[in-house]
Amino acid sequence: MTRRLPAATRFLLVGAALLLVLWALSFAVAVLRPSAFARLCPLGSDVLRPDSSVCALAFGGVWISLSVGLLAGAAATVAGFGVASIARIFGGWVDAVLMRSADALFALPDVLVLMVLQFAAQTAGDLHPRLRINPVPLMILSLAMVGWAAPARLFRDRLETLERAEFVGAARALGAGHWHVLNRHLWPFLRDYALGIFLSRVPAAILAESTISFLGIGKIEPMSLGRYLGTSYASLLYGEGVRIVLPAWVLLILIVLGASLAGRGASALAEH
């Protein structure tokens, strides 16, 4: 008799599998066998790029959108954990200042802050060519700078709760330092929680990136889903909008659904 997996584990596995399959297929289509999709695509060729099929352009953008989202989510989670650790180690006014900064950043829309960061970095790069950053790392860095606030707040509150536990008090009474307590005693309780936070940041990062790229502010190459839609804008004039927009929309929803499911599963596992 087979034992049914808990709902949280099923969510995590289904979400992670969906993301993995989408990434691998997209990478294979876009990088390894770009000609295969051109022959099989039922949606025909792109209006502005007649030598490329709609399938290849839309599906080929999945791996870059997903990669940017995963890397930005990871960077935001690490940064958030770092800020939360500093806030808890120093406490007092350092804690207050860091958390108020996180709250202030959290109150602003991601898209606005991203536009400002991209604008500042691009202008700095134009004025001083030595400061010019490649669009992909720039987008990941900008997304991480926008996304650290929520993880920092969540990690800080979780750390505060965990630090009240008796085993932490006992370790401190025996002379353990902040780093030792964090690394040996608190981190094992934070691993699943960190995974949940990381996965919950991924869809937000992908959506923010797609909006910025769509608006033409982020110039990611190879094209992400958002940039593809942004550059295909003129096809609406020829009544081709649905053929161009719908496949990319479905793929974006699938990515967000996969990351949300996996994030929900990981968060539920952490609660147990």
Binding site: M115, T123, F214, L215, L229, L236, V245, W249
Partner: protein
């Protein structure tokens, strides 16, 4: 189609001309004491921010902001309609279907960036005119905040209705309507008030893509164009204005919460009162 193309820009345009660099320095007062206030000084003096015809005066900026906020207010009404409809749907469905509705509808709403429904509506709305682009923009930016509000309302009512004070009030003979109005609603109201700032943020953030796609010459489009055309002074002033609107919304919500919720007026434990 007003705003074509969105991002087929030539990378060579990023090589700035000496004139443009000089205008950056002039606009931002680089090297001058309190030079960062230069855009505001120009604004107060009624001068045009930015370069040549792409710039904007303070009066134009405020008009565009007011227009965007008017679209936002229509979107708030639409978001409330979405919220009410979604909360009703969650109440009316059977338990087996509830999971699908509670999971799929928010995922669909959250997973759809504003520009996608805007792109689908644009060919029909832009040509028609007669405030249809404004209504289409309000519609597309209201979906996610509406579903978010609906989830919050449904969950809050569900939690409050399960509490003991509701059962106690009912057992003392109060009608369901009176229990809802006198007891449940005041307890749900603070949660609803707390949701206003994120909803306002989402609505204003959605206006960037919606106005750009639907060709509305308001604040959202102005901001995106200022970033694309590297109008530093316009970006500085518009960002500050945008953030000020959000701060103002939070301030008003904070005051309303202080008036409505007695718990907000209680001192925080550990804090000493003078």
């Amino acid at each position: 189609m007003v705003a074509l193309p969105l991002s087929l820009g030539d990378e060579n345009k990023r090589q700035l001309s000496p004139d443009l660099v000089a205008s950056y320095r002039r606009d931002l007062g680089v090297g001058e004491p309190l030079g960062f206030l230069r855009p505001w000084q120009k604004l107060v003096q009624g001068k045009r921010l930015g370069t040549s015809s792409q710039g904007v005066t303070g009066a134009e900026l405020l008009t565009k902001l007011a227009s965007s906020m008017a679209v936002g207010l229509v979107a708030v009404v639409m978001a409330l309609c979405w919220a009410f409809a979604y909360a009703l749907l969650r109440w009316s469905v059977r338990r087996a279907q509830a999971v699908a509705i509670e999971e799929l509808v928010p995922a669909l709403a959250f997973g759809t960036p504003v520009f996608i429904p805007a792109l689908l509506l644009a060919p029909h709305a832009v040509e028609a005119g007669h405030f249809l682009p404004e209504l289409a923009a309000a519609l597309v930016i209201s979906v996610w905040p509406g579903i978010f509000l609906g989830t919050l309302v449904a969950d809050s009512f569900k939690t409050e209705l399960a509490r003991e004070y509701v059962r106690a009030a009912r057992s003392k003979g109060l009608s369901q309507r009176r229990v809802m109005v006198r007891h449940v609603l005041p307890n749900v109201l603070p949660t609803l008030l707390d949701s206003i700032p994120p909803v306002a943020t989402a609505l204003l953030a959605g206006s960037f893509a919606a106005e750009r796609v639907l060709g509305l010459p308001y604040f959202g489009q102005l901001y995106v164009l200022a970033v694309l055309q590297k109008q530093i002074a316009v970006v500085v002033v518009a960002t500050t204005l945008f953030a000020s609107v959000l701060v103002l919304v939070r301030l008003i919500v904070g005051l309303a919460r202080w008036l409505v919720d007695p718990r907000a007026r209680e001192p925080v434990p550990g804090e000493t009162t003078p």
